[in-house]
Amino acid sequence: MAFYAVYIVEAHPTDIWQMKSNIKDNILFANPKTDEERAFVAGACVRKLGIKFPAVIDGIDNHTEVAYTGWPDRLYLIDRDGKVVYKSKPGPFGFKPDQLGEAIKKLNLVEAAR
């Protein structure tokens, strides 16, 4: 199974709807306006959050986010035929890794029975 973090448009940058929790944690980034700026913030995100699996960066036109309605955060599980088998509700309320874990278990059972 392959895991990918898809880095998308920032949720609470300093210039748009900044959160007090981000000020407290010193996570202060303005909204990236170019691919280079986005790559810079994505790098900080991967390093500081200690993301262990590969990360890809959405284009500054947000085309992947739009296709998946991924903002502000969301989980997907895709089977080996390229079909969506699990899609979480939109974050932050719907971002539930436990549900993804259950979906992975079910998919593994289906795959094993094939």
Binding site: M1, V6, K48, V56, N62, A67, G70, V85
Partner: protein, 124 residues
Amino acid sequence: MQIYYSPGVAIRNKLSKLLMRKPGKRTLSVLVIVLLLLWGGFLVFIGWAMRQPPEKFGRVMMHMPMPAFFLFPFETMWTQARAGSVQPGDAAPDFRLPTQDHQAEVELSSLRGKPVVLVFGSYT
């Protein structure tokens, strides 16, 4: 003895009487209808904002005082507004994106043959 009132005093007295008067049923009904219309308009506006691109939505929400968040069912409306078009059973939209270290590109369709987990998110 004759008492003279200035126009300012007369208006103030009238206002005081109006404010002190017990509101009638009609006044209350009008007030309730106005409040409902305002609330409905607010819900429509928030629903519209939730369907806008993230940056536009953020620019609306950044001006909203915290108490206003208790005036509408945020989670329910958010879940509906952000439902998206891709549903379980659908083919996952293909993409080709650079890795964070810019050493390679990942094309989703090239990963066929094994399950894939996608974790969408950002830093803030």
